[in-house]
Symmetry: none
Subunit: 208 residues, 4 copies
DNA sequence: AATGAATGAGTCTTCATTCAT
DNA sequence: GATGAATGAAGACTCATTCAT
């Protein structure tokens, strides 16, 4: 019997490794990449710098990511997922569409303000060759829930009859502009500020 | 003697391309840079490729530009100047402000559609570390005339009371989104299309 | 209790492969190394690939071999030992020397044909810096029995008066060439084929 | 008139560069690669070492060769070409076939002895993955003249009826063995030595 | 004994920039 | 002005090896 227990201890010990401290290094690498890219851009951020910032050896990055390209694409997907989650926070189907829209917008705006590196990274990524080379690499959550929500709005006649693929970037453009402005001015943002910006968006696209 | 002439003919033929009017090489370099950056990004466009595309030796680029950085910054200013000129085309002080605004918007939209590389380049540049490292390097024409026009609009109460520095990016975001969408769909753009997009912008920012 | 047994069953299943007879892992490593080097060469075969192919963890290789260099040298010795054993098969002191020579040659040829990876590996090894850096690392069996046999032939006047160290590579060269040719042509090799090749060797070196 | 001469001077100066010291660097790189690979093997010879040995910057190698692989393959072709030229030296169609064969063999043997790095490199190359990956990359001169000569010998009945593709490696194997032996013994090689070795080859393959 | 995540020195390669012509 | 061969610093990536478990 003792030998069985010995086995269990031994073997489970081996499996524990894979189940506890999990992805801490992988996450550290992604976090460092985000911060450094925001500051120095894709090109300006060598792998060695990412490794140093993440307190990891250069080679370690390649245990988790096939290449720098892969690392950046995966960071994009992770960031967009987090973005989608932030937008969906407090979503309440029972509220009127316009309320839900404002909630969405405010969440999005707040995410930008509170996660400047994420916003800067997303904007850089969208305007980089990556976005064109890997159009299929994207957040599923965002596609289904966020874009889906706007498609509903169009289908139900809340918006001008614009293509949803046009609507998304339009909204993004405005909110990014607003967030960037607020951040560069180092202003404290009040709820009124936010609402004012969202109002611009809403006034632009709502069915008059 | 005949052989000398033969040489001259042969060799000068080879040089002909390179001996015509003044700034042709400088322009060729800028044009090639624009096209290649649109396609491959800053990082993906080595100087050697620019030289080849511009039918120029690698070293020649350094007669006209101090460094790659300088080249890109100067390309940015030139492109933004051309952008401003396009926007100001047909400007008529005597028209009502709203008409002039629509004219501005339509010009901007058309410039994007007709100069995709310029649009892509400008968007990339704005979201790159360059923009933050050289904030003073920008088109004077654009600053004075285009931004000035919007500042007038705010001062005269046509727009919501938003900061002009917020207004610009907001408008840009929407028009870029629209242009990108039209371009990616390979659609013929009608005047109605354009007006519809401009209407979104106008509805968003006009004093209600 | 049942769950413990479940665990044991599950986990030991996974380990079964690795817990059977003694040197199985060491052998698996050597076998994998042979196959992979034949295909990709020394340089093209990383330790990680050997580990994967041998169903073993990367670190495990270092329980059995000090370094990659050691692994390859030991593989060379093992292979040469197997080679010598194959050559000596059916050796019968009572037969005439020429008959024994032909038996040797046919055995050698058959070993090559039936163990292509071994042949390719041996040829690669002999022409690599290893052979020069570790001249003392070699098969004792081969040295004593196989080379000894040829030395006898010279001493007893069966061969031209060539140095035995010249004889060996000469014979090897011819048989390797023949084996490679047969293998590359995917031909079925008949006894007549083999004998014909051995005859070339014999005619070359026999005292006329 | 003076201006014409000025042009000629100027322009021809420019072309001179490409016609005088020509390929000296390219050749230096190839020579260094040969020597270093002989000593340390493909893997053991980094590009940086080749550059240093050739008195050239690391990057310069890439002006002449696309990659390390290309460099090695081109070195192989150049070396095999030189090999073929050496073998064909003093070729005299009017002599009897056997005499020409001996001339060929002696030339080949002498080439090996006088160009040990070339011999070692060729043997390494033939037994490396390169040879299998780029079977079409080979010396045309060698294929047509040297292999052609042996094909003639078979067609005209001088040799045993063996496939020419078998004949070549057989001969090579013997001569390489002999050359290696002589070199490793640091012996002065006499004409008798050479003839003795060639006699082994000839006795092996000649129609009895 | 066995694992495989982690390491970091070392490799190939790129590319902005220089300079002799 | 123009050339393009040459440079060499810097980057992405590999892989033999180690070590905590």
């Amino acid at each position: 019997m003792a030998s069985y227990l010995h086995y269990i201890t031994f073997l489970c010990d081996r499996m524990n490794v894979q189940l506890n401290n999990s992805n801490s290094k992988r996450d550290a690498i992604l976090n460092s990449t985000l911060i450094l890219i925001k500051e120095y851009g894709f090109h300006g951020t060598p792998m060695s710098q990412i490794a140093k910032h993440a307190n990891v050896a250069a080679g370690t990055i390649y245990h988790y990511f096939d290449s720098k390209e892969t690392l950046i694409v995966e960071l994009y997907i992770r960031t967009k997922d987090q973005f989608a989650e932030a937008i969906l926070q407090g979503y309440d189907e029972s509220k009127p569409y316009k309320d839900r829209f404002f909630k969405f917008m405010i969440n999005q705006y707040n995410f930008y303000i509170q996660n400047e590196p994420a916003m800067v990274f997303l904007e850089q990524y969208i305007n980089s060759p990556f976005a064109k080379n890997f159009p299929e690499k994207d957040s599923i959550l965002f596609k289904e829930k966020v874009i889906g929500f706007f498609e509903d709005g169009i289908a139900q006649g809340y918006f001008k009859n614009v293509d949803p693929r046009l609507l998304g970037p339009t909204i993004r453009g405005t909110l990014v502009a607003a967030a960037n402005f607020r951040l560069s001015e180092h202003m404290i943002y009040s709820d009124e500020d936010i609402t004012e910006v969202v109002q611009i968006v809403w006034d632009g696209i709502k069915r008059q």
